[in-house]
């Protein structure tokens, strides 16, 4: 490993030193005397719950916000970034969670627009070379929108590293990638690190931190908790430091017991749609939590969409509560007591400009029909009830949902569907992109609903979550049910699932 050689020669060099950074927002001190040091050729994880100050610190560094106090030294020289553009010219490049590229430009144009290189021939050749360094063999003259999110993410990283950057900030780059894609990204990160770049890595996935980082800095409530070498503390200690509470207590969750003779909520036989789903059969009892495991694109979401009527199955039939139903559109499903929280919260879930109250009302109102409007008093009552029940952090129900944190937005979406009092609730990646504390809360809510007799389908890429909460787990692979595991689960379960995903074998 080349980086091992570097550390032998002399004391690790700090490429970036942020000292005593303070940042005041109206009413809150977002950063309170935070120190952060980044060495050349290291991957440094920046950790903390939502609201801990990670993003604010990054925004101070990239010139989006302007710090109130403290100094930033880049290569020993003091800098005051005034805008993202200004930061880029100083060699600080950022890749955001949302892809900030132009879908209509080609891959090559996206990498080079605004740069010195301009001629199509030159940028196409250079882009091809760059993408090959990233082990991506793609046609760089196609529009960016032609490619998957993962490829787009790689392109935005390619754009960031193409400029002579000293520091690369990766803000939640993996939240929409599947396992293979994450490995691809990691390979690139290792290469950049070997080339001497300092990488700041922000993520909610603890496993990924341990897989790739050299050191980590933890923030909590705008203060520095500490900087640690990766081997210094284990995952449990890390979460404890992040949350300030004991991890064991947060995740003290167990699947709800389901009675043997509980009636069936859902019975789906040989569901299929050309392409994504081929022949799925499911059976769920009242109050049961069924986990869906599998890679991105294995048909998890697509199966859920078939049950909810967002896509039409071409074969098979569905029975809800023992009654055969024809689900042609989501409305039919809603009327039959099915609720569905889609995967892409921002795109398919929230209506950003509406208030929390209005967002909660949407599904209830749809179910009642527009001839039976909920009175304002009823709406207020319902909204307040769920804000309290789900402890949604907001001053009042009239705040725009777009202004809430990811975890709170997710809770509002949950409230929307809980308000319809469903018999079957389908949650597609409800915990993606939210912090550990909020994750635990969402899971607890799920389990509480099961206790109240709601059947829940839980789709998640984080296997630990699925294993922790589910009564049964369906492992999906290539649009088919590769296996079905029945709980209780133990520490072996995860490797068993991984094996099924990898080999496609039937479980014993």
């Amino acid at each position: 490993m080349p980086e091992a050689v570097r550390t032998q020669t002399n004391e690790p060099q700090n490429i970036l030193e942020m000292r005593g950074i303070e940042m005041q927002f109206p009413g809150v001190k977002a950063l309170d005397g935070v120190d952060f040091f980044l060495r050349a050729g290291e991957i440094h994880a920046l950790l903390g719950e939502n609201g801990a100050g990670k993003s604010t610190l990054i925004k101070c560094l990239t010139g989006v916000n302007h710090k109130d106090a403290g100094t930033i030294l880049l290569d020993g020289k003091e800098i005051t970034p005034t805008s993202p553009q200004n930061a880029i010219t100083m060699g600080i490049a950022t890749v955001f969670q949302e892809i900030n590229l132009c879908p209509n430009l080609t891959v090559a144009e996206n990498i080079f627009v605004g740069r010195k290189e301009f001629k199509r021939k030159i940028i196409n050749a250079k882009a091809r070379e760059l993408m090959q360094r990233f082990h991506l063999d793609i046609d760089v003259t196609r529009p960016l929108s032609y490619y998957s999110t993962a490829v787009q993410q790689m392109v935005s990283i390619a754009r960031a590293v193409n400029i002579e950057s000293k520091i690369l900030i990766l803000d939640e780059p993996t939240s929409s990638l599947d396992e293979n894609e994450v490995q691809l990204l990691f390979a690139v990160m290792r290469e950049l690190k070997a080339a001497g770049m300092g990488i700041i890595f922000i993520t909610h996935f603890l496993d990924q931190i341990y897989a790739i980082s050299d050191r980590m800095t933890i923030l909590r409530n705008g203060r520095l908790v500490g900087t640690y070498d990766i081997g210094e503390i284990n995952k449990l200690q890390l979460v404890t430091l992040m949350v300030g509470k004991d991890m064991e207590n947060i995740f003290d969750l167990h699947p709800v017991q389901v009675a043997e003779d509980a009636p069936d909520t859902l019975k789906a036989e040989h569901l299929g749609a050309p392409g994504p789903v081929a022949d799925i059969s499911l059976e769920m009892k009242k109050g049961e939590l069924l986990g869906f495991a599998g890679l991105l694109g294995s048909g998890r979401t697509e199966t859920a969409e078939l049950i909810f009527g967002a896509n039409r199955p071409t074969s098979g039939k569905i029975e809800l509560k023992g009654k055969a139903v024809v689900v042609k559109k989501p409305f039919d499903a809603i009327m039959n007591g099915v609720a569905f929280c889609p995967e892409d919260r921002k795109r398919d879930g929230i209506v950003g400009d509406l208030s929390i109250r209005e967002n909660i009302m949407l599904a209830v109102q749809a179910k009642r029909g527009f001839l039976h409007p909920l009175s304002r008093a009823e709406q207020n009552e319902l909204a307040d009830k769920y804000i309290k029940a789900l402890s949604i952090a907001t001053p009042d129900a009239e705040k725009k949902i777009g202004e809430l944190s990811g975890g709170n937005q997710q809770k509002v979406i949950l409230a929307r569907w809980m308000a319809t009092q469903p018999d079957l609730l389908i949650l597609d990646e409800p915990t993606r992109g939210i912090d550990v504390g909020a994750k635990a809360e969402i899971q607890r809510l799920m389990l509480e609903m099961c206790g109240d007799g709601v059947s829940v389908i839980f789709i998640s890429s984080e296997m630990e979550e699925v294993i922790r909460c589910s009564n049964r787990i369906v492992v999906m692979r290539d649009g088919k049910k590769a296996a079905e595991l029945t709980g209780p689960f133990d520490s072996e379960t995860q490797s068993k699932i991984l094996q099924i995903i990898a080999e496609g074998g039937e479980a014993s």
């Binding site: 132009c102 209509n104 430009l105 046609d139 929108s145 032609y146 998957s148």
Partner: protein, 351 residues
């Protein structure tokens, strides 16, 4: 995951690049309609070069304006003021000479400055004050039309040698009849290319170069693709947008001059509703109203399509000319549907 995609750049894959699909659709529909006309009315002279050149001549002033409009639409904006600005140009030129005795050369240059200035002003309002383009340019349209009426509420006809000269300046097309003697003869029926058509074609070429082969052009596409991203990528968003509206203002007044060459008068109600003709030409040419996609060649064919339909009705002789409007409307609808299909197809393909 589509990581492993064919990398080899065969000519076919380059031609079949999804970004050109809309332009192809326009060209193909033009060819189909042209072929229909050629089969039905070939004997009455539909296939002559003169008829073809007339497709350009009929709507040249709309075409000139559509060059600027295409750019505006690519940024994701819209400009409703183009027809009013063109009308104002005609008014300035006509009034300037007939009532004040100012040479058309000076008034033409002046009205171009007015067009550019008004465009830049609207661009600045759109960018800095964040006023939606629709509202801003609607206001600009009222303003320009108002100034028109302020100058004169009657049509002012113009009689100036320069205007006559420019309007009369035509290139007659010849063909080689005898290779040995280098003998040329006029194409029959006699085919002439007007000044307005020359301006139109020059503008299409200039627009193509500007959009495809300059940094400015690429920034225009980037802004249309995702303005927030363009900003974060460090592109000069404000400057580019203002420049686009200024260029469009220039195109509007140039279109106004072309219109003067045709009608030889200034009138405060000239080209009423013309902005919609211009916008629909660009849209039929494959420019997305949501921004980010559009080509000058497509726009040119959009303009030609709007000439070929009335031509067919003319050749038929019995149909009401309103069928032209109906056909154009139908075409516009068809194109919006095709655009949606192309977009959703590429989205599905990505999955």
């Amino acid at each position: 995951m589509s990581v492993k995609t064919e990398k080899r750049q065969s000519l076919l894959t380059r031609i079949m690049n999804p970004k050109y699909m809309m332009v192809y659709a326009t060209v193909i529909i033009f060819l189909i309609i042209y072929a229909y006309g050629a089969i039905r009315y070939g004997k009455s002279g539909f296939t002559t070069l003169r008829t073809f050149v007339n497709f350009f001549t009929d709507n040249a002033y709309y075409g000139i304006s559509a060059v600027g409009m295409t750019m505006v639409l690519i940024t994701g904006g819209i400009d409703l003021s183009v027809a009013s600005v063109a009308s104002l140009t005609g008014m300035i030129v006509a009034y300037g000479y007939e009532r004040m005795g100012i040479s058309p050369v000076i008034t033409m240059l002046f009205s171009m400055l007015v067009g550019i200035g008004l465009g830049a002003l609207m661009g600045a309002a759109i960018h800095y004050l964040n006023v939606p383009p629709f509202i801003t340019t609607l206001t600009g349209s009222f303003l320009a039309r108002g100034i028109c009426s302020l100058i004169s509420r009657e049509s002012i006809s113009m009689n100036h040698p320069l205007i006559d000269q420019l309007a009369g300046a035509k290139i007659t097309l010849y063909r080689l009849v005898n290779l040995q003697n280098w003998e040329w003869e006029k194409i029959k029926p006699i085919t002439k290319i007007d000044m307005t058509v020359i301006i139109f074609i020059v503008m299409i070429i200039a627009g193509t170069i500007l959009l495809q082969h300059t940094r400015f052009g690429r920034n225009v596409y980037a802004i249309g693709g995702n303005e927030a991203s363009a900003k974060l990528m460090g592109l000069p968003v404000g400057r580019t947008k203002i420049a686009v509206y200024a260029i469009n203002g220039f195109c509007s007044s140039l279109a106004g001059i072309a219109y003067v060459l045709v009608v030889k008068s200034g009138w405060n109600m000239a080209l009423l509703g013309g902005e919609l003709e211009v916008i629909s030409s660009a849209v039929i040419g494959g420019t997305l109203l949501t921004g980010g996609v559009g080509y000058m060649v497509g726009t040119m064919f959009g303009v030609l399509l709007k000439s070929v339909i009335p031509a067919i009705i003319n050749f038929n002789g019995t149909l009401s000319s309103w069928w032209g409007k109906i056909a154009t409307g139908g075409l516009l609808l068809l194109f919006i549907v095709i655009q949606r299909l192309v977009v959703s197809y590429t989205e599905r393909k990505r999955k």
